[in-house]
């Protein structure tokens, strides 16, 4: 694993700019999807405010970058996302289900329109970004953020906080009665995930010469991240990454084509009907057939357990068929 990370970190020296650019896009999507699933996947509060925090990160960086050194500006962007999310997160006290979905969506548009109006009023529709961050630096920062997001999500899922989040997703009333401070958990985790989103936005902006409100607060981000996380499987820390990677590749393949929207739409529908839990449970089930407990069982009972699923059953079936076939000849 460590080796893999080292290889990924050295990748820009080995491959073309195009691949590096593609990787930047992948890491950004992975980080965003993981951050999204950290809150929305566990608590089932489906948020469409990804674009809002992403855009806040972009604008915070664009403003702070003029006055502060880069690391401080990036921190400032994350803090801005965190603070705004603290306030927005309070809405989870009153809204659930579809109301929370449309609220976050409307809020993103509200922020978008206000920022747009304010920029036009100040005669600064586009904001220029002057930075000397190179492509490789951006690559490394996004890789670090993506890995951090997955690691943090994995770590939290094993702590009491992770259980609290899942309990809220299962049944919030029960969670409250078992003594979980649901308000604190929801608001803090929402803000933490927003901070990561803002940071991704800020880092990604470094490669653009300028931004404006409709780039920063583009709703497409919210939807693509949502679908990436749900496609992968929001219930597991590494699930969203599994979904984000093929989606970015698909997008790259069909870039500028009208068929991307159609393909994306069909993806949505497929997730709901064919893979209600995402791809991750499938992978896990397949992987389970080779885990330590099962192997111990193999040693104990001296044969393969039936839990090895359809490949094993298929093999059994083929064997039985062969035996019958052989029997025919022997007779």
């Amino acid at each position: 694993m460590v080796l893999g990370v080292l290889v990924l970190a050295q990748l820009p020296q080995l491959v073309s700019t195009y691949v590096v650019q593609l990787c930047i896009s992948i890491y950004a999507n992975v980080a965003l999807a993981t951050a999204w699933a950290f809150f929305s996947g566990t608590t089932r509060y489906i948020s469409l405010a990804t674009a809002a925090f992403f855009g806040i990160g972009i604008y915070a960086l664009a403003i702070l970058n003029a006055y502060l050194p880069l690391p401080l500006a990036l921190t400032g962007a994350a803090v801005a996302g965190f603070l705004v999310a603290l306030i927005v997160g309070l809405s989870t006290l009153r809204l659930r289900g579809v109301y929370f979905v449309v609220f976050t969506f409307g809020l993103t548009e509200l922020i978008h329109q206000v920022v747009n109006w304010w920029s036009i009023k100040n005669r600064a529709v586009t904001r220029y970004i002057f930075t000397d961050a190179s492509r490789v630096q951006i690559y490394e920062m996004l890789l670090a953020i993506a890995l951090f997001a997955i690691a943090a999500s994995w770590y939290v899922s094993r702590t009491r906080l992770g259980y609290a989040l899942r309990a809220i997703g299962e049944d919030e009333t029960v969670a409250r009665h078992t003594g979980i401070d649901t308000t604190l958990v929801k608001v803090l985790c929402f803000a933490a995930s927003a901070a990561v989103m803002a940071l991704v936005g800020a880092v990604l902006t470094l490669q653009y010469p300028y931004v404006d409100a409709s780039i920063a607060f583009n709703n497409t981000w919210s939807f693509e991240i949502l679908i990436a996380a749900l496609l992968g499987g929001p219930g597991r820390p590494w699930g969203p990454a599994v979904g984000a990677i093929p989606l970015v590749l698909l997008k790259d393949l069909l870039v500028g084509s009208l068929y991307f929207t159609i393909a994306l739409g069909l993806c949505f529908v497929a997730v709901v009907y064919v893979l209600p839990g995402g791809v991750a449970p499938l992978i896990e089930r397949w992987y389970r057939t080779f885990d330590a407990a099962t192997l111990r069982q193999v040693l104990r009972i001296g044969r393969r357990p039936d839990s090895w699923g359809w490949p094993y059953r298929l093999k059994l079936g083929v064997k039985a068929g062969m035996a019958r076939f052989n029997g025919l000849w022997r007779r």
């Binding site: 089932r44 489906i46 809405s91 009153r94 809204l95 659930r96 289900g97 579809v98 109301y99 979905v101 449309v102 609220f103 969506f105 409307g106 809020l107 548009e109 509200l110 329109q113 206000v114 747009n116 109006w117 036009i120 009023k121 939807f223 679908i227 749900l230 009208l258 068929y259 929207t261 159609i262 994306l264 739409g265 069909l266 993806c267 949505f268 529908v269 997730v271 709901v272 009907y273 209600p276």
Partner: protein, 300 residues
Amino acid sequence: MFEVLLGGLLLGGMYGLVALGLNLQYGVSRILNLAYGEFLIGGAFIAFFTATGITITILGVTIARLPPLNPLLSLLLGPPIGFALSWLIYRCLMLPLVKRTPDQDALDADVVLVTFGLFFVLQGLAMVNWSGDLRGYSFLAQGVDVVGARIALNRLLAFLGACALALALFLILRHTRVGSALRAITIDPVAAELMGVDVRKYSALAFAAGGALAATAGMLVSTFISFSATSGAEYTLKALIVVIMAGVGRVTGTLAAGLLLGVVEQLGGYLLDPGLTLAINFGLFALILLLRPTGLFTRA
């Protein structure tokens, strides 16, 4: 000032018109149809082709050449198509989800995804077929005097259409057997089922009727606002705002909420800054969601 108010009322009538079908769909069948705007744009496209004339070719063979006609004639075609398509969507796509769902929250999540997918597919198909160009045509584009203010006839037509549809829907819901069944489902689907209402049949009916209303609204709106294959989302959003404001399943409330939104938007634009109209829209929406998530026109 008076003209601003009047403009707000006309705009609000349009909002109410756009939202009627969505409220019927979400109120009765509990399916939040995010592809709603696409049906509206479909109605608008049919009206556009009726108004400008169209040559229908299949595989390069010209089948029929239609001369430009009165766009009102498209009401014979658009709403039935909207009805049939929506009915099919409910039967084939939504019903499996309704059957397997454990609770409304899970259903909402599934439905949001599927209708989003549908939205992307329909929009993509419209883009492929008709490109993303803005389209508009001229119909009843003359002014009339209404109590001292001069307003466009086509806007007045849409406003009157909104009032007529809302009234008709209200009367149907209030005074017919189907209407009482629909209202019963709105209030409590389980209890309605126990009282012998065929919930699935009437849900499909309401969903289909919502699609027909969307196509009608699209036709009326297209007479004075130009549209493109991508403008469906705007209408879905507007309709959603109005439905949330009105309260789910409230027909007359929908029109009232639409009027309120239109007036507030116009007044806000007039008093504060014209660039802020959309922001006012969403601000009002967020505020109402936070303060009264069940809508303005519901009994607490």
